[in-house]
């Protein structure tokens, strides 16, 4: 047996610099390596732990790659039908106004099939948080075109690139809901670099904190890669995201404390 004295000298409480949050379970995540979903999950879990609201938080998972999020977060969760998470969250929050309620939704879920539920929950000003993972594609079903797919971007149902004349234009749901009086905080973030991860975590924290104010809905979009769907390596995918997604979906705050920042 190898001599472990050295390791035991290092693994001590006083040397601890980072620890997996207890709000994440020990289940191995099913996400493709390099996918943004796992990072976004961790940030949400860390915020729940740091705020001490594990017993007061109810999350809603969508139909999409993150459908199994309930296996990874150690909180009460409901799995919603495709696109309907904002309606599900509305009822939970109305029935338990002092709980923290969030939905976690992909771009197909939130901006295609669930457009009506998204807009109306935002417009009613439900005191919930929506975390919106925009990877410009339907990841779970194998990389089909999403409402967010960029003009010219290839997907399995736009194999020659999205022809906006024929297939319609990419949809900026985040800018759209920022126009509604019921949204209090609307921001676009990313999780591809340590700096962006720190910023995204702040935004997620803000979305939870806002629920105490009862002033309206908080929506945090996270532009993310789907390296499998985009058919790229994780490194290539993040580079492609910065070069192609960010110009159309620029990170930054769109609405703060109920006021548009001018970046919409």
């Amino acid at each position: 047996m190898a001599d472990r004295t050295g390791i035991n000298d290092i693994v001590k409480d006083e040397n601890l610099v980072y620890k997996k949050t207890s709000v994440l379970t020990d289940r191995v995540m099913h996400y493709c390596p390099g996918c943004g979903h796992g990072t976004a999950h961790r940030l949400i879990a860390e915020v729940i732990e740091e705020m001490g609201i594990q017993a007061d938080t109810i999350g809603i998972t969508p139909v999409g790659c993150s459908v199994l999020m309930y296996n990874y977060l150690d909180i009460d969760m409901q799995e919603a039908a495709h696109g309907r998470a904002p309606a599900v969250a509305t009822a939970i929050k109305r029935l338990m106004p002092d709980k923290f309620v969030f939905t976690y939704q992909g771009d197909g879920d939130l901006a295609a099939i669930g457009t009506a539920e998204t807009i109306h929950a935002c417009n009613r000003g439900e005191n919930i948080a929506i975390f919106f993972i925009n990877n410009g594609i339907y990841g779970m079903t194998g990389g089909q075109m999403a409402p967010t797919t960029l003009s010219g971007m290839k997907s399995s149902t736009s194999p020659y690139g999205r022809d906006v004349q024929m297939m319609g234009n990419p949809l900026k749901m985040t800018e759209l809901v920022a126009q509604l009086p019921g949204t209090w905080y609307v921001t676009r973030q990313a999780v591809h670099t340590p700096a962006s991860v720190r910023k995204a975590k702040k935004a997620i924290r803000q979305a939870f904190e806002n629920q105490k104010l009862k002033k309206g809905l908080s929506l945090v979009e996270i532009v993310s890669n789907c390296n499998s769907g985009w058919k790229m390596s994780p490194v290539e995918a993040n580079k492609w995201m910065v070069e192609n997604m960010f110009p159309f979906y620029p990170p930054g705050d769109i609405k703060l404390e109920g006021r548009l920042t001018g970046k919409e």
Partner: protein
């Protein structure tokens, strides 16, 4: 305090929901049931009991709000009419697949498509065979009076929670719009404690609660389906409700539910006046269906006729129940037309006495 009132069927359902201690109603307007939401909004249940009432952006949103509330262990009700109930089917399948209790009212109008706003019974198949995707059943209650519209709200919630299963009150535009005297039960308090499976926030003393209908493991998914079937067999063994009128000595048995059953009660009297020994079996639960009593009566009568405001849907279940022991016919009117007691007696004569 119990109270006697003159009310529309739709209003009785709304008032009964408040008095049953319902926690929430979510719905979307559609004729002939909009009075339910209108009555609730006018009554300010948030002041009376703290009940949440919300007009949703669609029936799809409404049924998913029901899902969210039911998953928190709350007593949640929604209502609609045929086209809106069609929109709710995916949600109902999720609710059944997640074993959540809730109450859904279908004040049926004629179809298919936009159809008519007049009463019909043409959503029977959709109600009793599942309606959405997958192998599941709703518990289906069929009131025949404004009194039963009110009473079945409380009964529906009781069954829904006992079996962790969605319950449907299948009624129609005639019962929804008609005014009758109704005894309303006294106000039940809303609950303050919730089932152990409810997503009310994971406290340190328990594991997290997950509400889902997803299981990608085929063996587990099959096991779950078998467990659901066990529940449905238990319902068939223990929760069948039906009512007999002059059936003991009948030569000819009418089978009808809801509005049709009420008309058939008159038809039975008319037939007996003419010397035809008619009787009536009224299923009160459409699922579980009163198969056993039908089978027993089938051995004693010369003929059975179902009366439905449809082209004949329940008749298939009656035929399955009697297993060919006796001839089973159907008489129906469609498109919002309600049959008269006389034409039912005529139809009975034409089918069996010519």
């Amino acid at each position: 305090m119990k109270e006697l009132k003159l009310m529309k069927g739709n209003e009785a359902i709304a008032e009964a929901a408040i008095r049953a201690g319902a926690d929430a109603y979510f719905g979307y307007p559609i004729t002939p049931q909009s009075e339910i939401l209108e009555y609730l909004m006018a009554e300010k249940p948030h002041e009376r009991t703290g009940m949440v009432v919300l007009q949703a952006e669609s029936e799809i949103a409404a049924i998913n709000m029901v899902y969210g509330g039911a998953a928190c262990g709350r007593k949640v009700i929604t209502s609609s009419s045929s086209p809106g109930i069609s929109l709710k089917q995916e949600g109902l399948s999720y609710i059944a697949g997640s074993e959540l209790p809730c109450l859904v009212v279908n004040v049926v109008r004629g179809g298919p498509g936009l159809g008519t706003i007049q009463p019909a019974q043409s959503d029977y198949f959709q109600a009793v065979k599942g309606g959405g995707h997958g192998d599941y059943r709703l518990i289906v209650l069929a009131p025949q009076s404004v009194q039963e519209m009110a009473d079945f709200v409380d009964l529906g919630f009781e069954l829904a929670f006992k079996y962790r299963n969605p319950v449907m009150i299948l009624t129609d535009g005639a019962l929804g719009q008609m005014m009758e005297k109704v005894w309303l039960q006294e106000q039940k308090p809303r609950r303050t404690s919730f089932p152990e499976w409810a997503t009310t926030g994971k406290t340190p003393d328990r594991e997290r609660n997950i509400i889902t209908s997803l299981d990608l493991d085929s063996a587990e998914q099959e096991k779950f389906n078998l467990r659901l079937q066990e529940k449905y067999r238990k319902l068939e063994a223990e929760e069948v409700r039906f009512e007999l009128t002059d059936a003991e000595d009948a030569d000819y048995l009418l089978v009808a539910y809801g509005t049709s059953a009420r008309i058939c009660q008159k038809s039975v009297r008319l037939a007996r006046d003419q010397g035809i020994k008619a009787g009536l079996l009224r299923p009160v639960t459409l699922f579980p269906f009163p198969k056993k009593p039908l089978k027993e009566l089938a051995g004693k009568v010369k003929g059975i006729m179902t009366v439905e405001m449809s082209t004949g849907q329940m008749v298939e279940d009656v035929r399955l129940a009697v297993e060919g022991v006796v001839q089973v016919e159907h008489y129906g009117r469609m498109g919002g037309i309600i049959p008269t007691p006389e034409e039912i007696v005529d139809a009975l004569g034409k089918n069996f006495l010519k």
